[in-house]
Amino acid sequence: MKSFNRRKLISASAILAVTALTATAVPANAFSPKSEVGVSQTEIKLGITLPMTGAASPGYNKVPAAMKAYFDYVNANGGVNGRKVTLVVKDDQYVPTQAVAKTNELILKDRVLALVAPLGTANNKAVAASVNPGKRGVPVLFVNTGFSGFADQKKFPTTYAILPSYVMEAKIMAEYIKDNFAGKTIGLVYQDDDFGTDALSGFKSAGVKFAATVGYASGSQSATTAAGWVTKLKAANCDVVILFGVSSATAAGLGTAAALKYAPQWILGSVGGDATTIKASGVPAGVLYNAVGASFLPATTDTSDEYVSLFQSIYSKAVPGSAFDNNVLVGMNSAFVTVQALKAAGANPTRASLLAAIDSKGSTFASAALLPLNYSKTSHVGYNGYWFGKYSPTGDLKPDGGKYTLYTTDSGSGAVVKSTWKRPAMPAKGLPN
């Protein structure tokens, strides 16, 4: 009797303690009831979840600092209608459970106005299913994944894609192969999940025939497994090989192929094509030399580009000693577009006015990309195209023939066409009105 009672008592008191804790721990609402969540007189609070540590973090963990660098630049120049933009960063270690937990903290505890540039397909799917920002009316701006599904407004009403989808990338790559490597034996290495199957469906609809396809399970990529890929590709005599995976897979494939003296014409997908990350993984720059890569932003070494040179100077001051690579450029560009969306949302932005502003004015937002944004009431698709180039002997991606040729398409059955769009001049000092 005694012991059982005590056991219950302990459980009960534990529960009571938790009750007391939680009751006192609820923060008083810091915002006056009139103003929107995440917006005070002096501040606009945004949040991001992404892998800052863990196996998937290399390269991507530079994004928050890059975004903050640009926000701080705007803040130092008057902010957004007098308010400072702050970014709350949460590390989800690329685990969906963590992404859900951290997003809940961002929305319910930190009370951010919107989520910006959250990374990862599986993570964003879990967040959409559990946290359900769509139902809460919380904007999920510019998700850092090319999974074509996120542009589906029915399923993800408040989510905006920004990267061209993997389907688009595959279709455009197919066109490039037709133009440049007709008649060659083609091989493909892809990640065996939505990321890869999205691409596979793109290649299929473009009619590309592969002599060998190697799907790898996410997380299995290593020098050892890559030896398997290379052996298969070699056996099929592939002389053009597309590496459509994350950076670590690209690096493993390139490094191992070099060790096996296998040197086909490489074509690297944009996700895993960041030269700095590949080189940091131990692949000599020489191996990257002459590989084909794709991007929708200007080359990171193209200092004649007004955006690149401004972003570079802002970043090098904010994060001294850190290389200005494609992840940084993507991050700063997202921040740049975010600031315009906030400004377009009116003097006292709300979640609703932010969403409405992107729907109505998003297609006119300036950005560093060489393609327009495609936002409207009926489209949450961001960029829709790529240019191709080759990696220089030092491992920098440079456009073919020194000038950018942009191909564009859609995630459906639309044709691939060359873009004639001209990017407007950058707003003065990189500060949009």
Binding site: R7, A14, I15, T22, D91, P96, A129, D192
Partner: protein
């Protein structure tokens, strides 16, 4: 030792249930969500207590069994459109089946061998999802228990609904577990844990008892997996990482593996430590890398300290101290 009658126990559980109901109405949504997390951990930890505390076997791969449960629930909903309670039942059965298989293997092993085998399982099993397209690959599958019924009111949140479901399932599971542990089987397991040889001499079929423990424990783990899948809305290999198995084991050790009484302590600790450490770190202005790694260090250190100084858990410790002092409540 006197035991409470079933009637009194049912009354106690109803009171706890009512307390949880009141709690859910008086805290904000984040706490309700964390409450659902705590409930998931309570069930997961209880499954380990049944296994380790009562039959002396150790599993470092409980997360994999949660995965089996989560996938079973999601699949049965996607393929057969079963109602939610039925998906939970499928989750329990599927995981129990996996547990029985594992138990057959485990009955031949003990100590480090079993630990290593279950560890290998925890690392290996989730990747199976990549092998079969029906399991959705790395992106996994959706698992949607639906919106709360409209009769509960328009401002009844999704997480409150999760919390209610999870709490109810947890209370039922714990009640049932107590029954099992008070039964003949519970005593048999305790005898085995005490001394396998002695139990065998007393006529206990040790292998069969161990397999049964593994099966029941896995079934409970399967329920935890379905509840976890519910709270995150999806199942995917990365939702059941090795870290999950370690967390549950940590929670069980912190709770004390010999009694269900402390299970809430383990679960609350697992949810609270990252938040407490995180807010301290944030207040100190340290980086996100510290905020996300310091909890690991704290939890790991707590685990070591508990094993060394309070190996039977805080509840048992207090109880034995009281017994020693001869005081009564």
């Amino acid at each position: 030792m006197h035991k409470l009658s079933n009637k009194v126990r049912i009354l106690i559980f109803i009171v706890i249930g009512f307390a949880i109901y009141l709690l859910s109405n008086n805290v904000d949504e984040l706490r309700v969500y964390q409450g659902a997390q705590v409930a998931v951990y309570v069930v997961g930890i209880a499954s380990i207590i049944l296994l380790t505390g009562y039959s002396g076997q150790v599993s470092l791969g409980q997360g994999a069994l949660l995965g089996v449960g989560g996938y079973a629930a999601a699949l049965s909903q996607l393929k057969w459109h079963l109602p939610i309670p039925a998906t939970f039942a499928i989750a329990i059965l599927a995981a129990a089946g996996a547990g029985a298989l594992l138990g057959i293997a485990a009955a031949r092993l003990s100590g480090p061998y079993l630990a290593g085998a279950t560890l290998a399982l925890a690392v290996g099993l989730p990747s199976i999802a990549n092998q079969f397209t029906v399991l959705g690959g790395e992106q996994g599958l959706f698992f949607d228990v639906g919106f709360p019924p409209s009769s509960l009111g328009a401002d009844f949140t999704q997480y409150k609904w999760f919390f209610w479901i999870a709490s109810l399932a947890t209370l039922l599971a714990i009640f049932w577990l107590q029954n099992v542990m008070r039964s003949r089987y519970g005593r048999t397991w305790k005898a085995i844990r005490g001394s396998e040889v002695a139990a065998e001499l007393a006529g206990v079929n040790v292998a069969r008892a161990k397999i049964l423990a593994f099966t029941l424990s896995a079934g409970v783990a399967g329920l935890a997996g379905a509840l976890l899948a519910m709270t995150i809305g999806t199942v995917s290999p990365s939702a059941f990482p090795l870290a999950l198995s370690f967390s549950l084991l940590t929670g069980a050790v912190l709770a004390g593996v010999t009694t269900l009484g402390g299970v809430i302590i383990g679960a609350v600790t697992l949810v609270a430590i990252p938040e407490i450490v995180g807010s301290i770190v944030n207040r100190a202005g340290a980086s996100e890398a510290i905020a996300s790694n310091l909890p690991h260090i704290v939890v790991g250190a707590l685990l070591i300290l508990t094993v060394v100084f309070v190996p039977n858990g805080p509840v048992e410790q207090m109880r034995s101290r009281r017994l020693k002092n001869g005081t009564s409540l």
